[in-house]
């Protein structure tokens, strides 16, 4: 049924945008928590922990997100045949696996960026490994983590478009549906692009506000100064 692009289409796209935000917020939070654990493992004294964490991170970062998405989509029903997951859950799982690996790298870099002298001073005070982390290293690492984490979050928002292939109706998929209904791909996808622009700039804005707020009283590494190793330029 062909018709021209109208307000209900704009509304449908907006709903898709909200789903994109929901998807990224959920995977972002869970993935970041997992990433933090992995980052700690990657910098731990235990060789096994380091090896496992590094292997996971290197592997996930070395394959396309689409492979992860399809693995989740086809693989989960294969392993758990009784389980019938909604598309949202599958998408979240795929994006969380993805996020955890990239956030692990960010955390690893941030923990390593805390000057060795801090570890030594804590050691000299008699603090054990976990106490060192909790009271001395992690608080400082957290400040370094924020700029690249925001950068990754923006990449995640764009990468979330790939879950369209499993039929989850986020912003891009909504765009495809509307584009087919209205036979107007240019207008439809341009509006989709504008939605993404708004969301991404919004997140970048939030990030800058957070940086300014936290650097008001102490020195923080800003987005411009983020060491190249922590910069992530996802497509």
């Amino acid at each position: 049924m062909l018709r021209s692009f109208g307000w209900q289409d704009l509304e449908a796209l907006a709903r898709g945008a909200l789903w994109t935000i929901a998807l990224c917020a959920t995977s972002g939070v869970i993935g970041t928590l997992l990433g933090m654990v992995l980052g700690l493992a990657a910098t731990s004294p235990s060789r096994i922990a380091r090896w496992l964490a590094t292997a996971y991170v290197y592997f996930i970062r070395g394959i396309p997100l689409l492979i992860i998405v399809f693995f989740a989509y086809f693989g989960i029903p294969l392993i758990f045949p009784e389980l019938s997951l909604p598309a949202f859950a599958t998408a979240v799982i795929a994006l969380t696996v993805f996020t955890a690996a990239y956030m692990a790298e960010i955390f690893r870099g941030s923990i390593n960026a805390v000057p060795k002298g801090q570890w030594e001073a804590a050691e000299a005070l008699g603090l054990g490994y976990f106490k060192k982390l909790r009271y001395v290293v992690l608080p400082q690492a957290m400040r370094i983590v924020v700029p690249p984490a925001i950068g990754f979050l923006i990449a995640l928002i764009k990468d979330s478009s790939l879950v369209t292939v499993i039929g989850f109706v986020e912003l891009t998929h909504a765009g495809t549906i509307i584009s087919n209904l209205t036979a107007n791909p240019i207008l439809t996808y341009s509006v989709v692009a504008v939605f993404y622009l708004v969301i991404c700039y919004g997140v970048a804005r939030l990030g800058r506000w957070y940086e300014q707020r936290s650097s008001a009283d102490r020195k923080t590494i800003t987005t411009e100064e983020t060491p190249a190793a922590l910069e992530l330029e996802g497509v």
């Binding site: 394959i63 369209t164 700039y201």
Partner: protein, 223 residues
């Protein structure tokens, strides 16, 4: 659950050929895209306000929208304007335009990281802007961003899988085709994943090698 990797064997050659497609479209997009990227960076940094704004706008647009949407606009949108690209060309164009925006920003970081003192030394010797750029700024800037550039290439290679959605016959597309034919889903996905992984690992090693070969002058080896 049993695996039938053996049944995948007849399709392996096809997968390798498709992998080559992924690689060569990435190379084209990287080379052309980087050249465009330097131009966009120069545009953004230029003193002409309209040129600077157009360049910034381009960079902002392509860096803050998904590659998939850019691809859809090129593959589905351009025909409305009379430009009909087949999936391969549409994919290459999208990857190139996308890459240009990212390399422009990478070069910006690189050029801005050249110590100001070097520029002053060149100026004190009477160098004009063109000479300064070519002989004093370009090499140190490139050295600074070389890791970011090679990383960008690897990301580009992985992103080429997105073109499978419009039917470009690269590796991801081949994986999906084989899956449709044989239903050996787990097998083909895992083999495909490993192919992607091995290629990106080789690329990463290669770039570290290149860095030590071409940019050894940055390393302090004072006796």
């Amino acid at each position: 659950m049993t695996f039938y990797y053996g049944d995948l064997a007849p399709y392996f050659g096809q997968m390798l050929a498709a992998l080559w497609t992924s690689i060569y479209i990435s190379i084209i997009a990287m080379v052309v895209g980087s050249a465009l990227g330097v131009l966009f960076y120069l545009g953004k940094a230029s003193s002409s306000a309209p040129l600077s704004r157009v360049s910034s706008g381009y960079i902002g647009l392509f860096r803050n929208t998904p590659l998939l949407v850019q691809l859809y606009l090129i593959y589905f949108g351009l025909p409305e304007l009379g430009v009909n690209l087949d999936p391969t060309w549409a994919g290459i164009v999208a990857l190139t335009l996308n890459n240009a925006a990212y390399t422009a920003e990478i070069y910006r970081a690189g050029f801005e990281s050249v110590p100001h003192g070097l520029i002053e030394a060149g100026q004190a010797l009477g160098m004009r802007r063109a000479v300064l750029f070519r002989h004093v700024i370009f090499m140190p800037a490139t050295r600074n961003v070389f890791p970011a550039l090679t990383n960008q290439f690897i990301l580009l290679f992985l992103a080429s899988s997105i073109a499978s959605i419009i039917g470009l016959p690269e590796l991801m597309n081949s994986i999906l085709n084989i899956n449709n034919k044989t239903y050996l889903t787990f097998e083909v996905l895992s083999v495909g994943g490993i192919l992607y992984f091995l290629t990106s690992a080789v690329l990463a090693l290669g770039s570290r090698l290149a860095e030590s070969m071409f940019f050894s002058w940055g390393v302090k080896r004072h006796a």
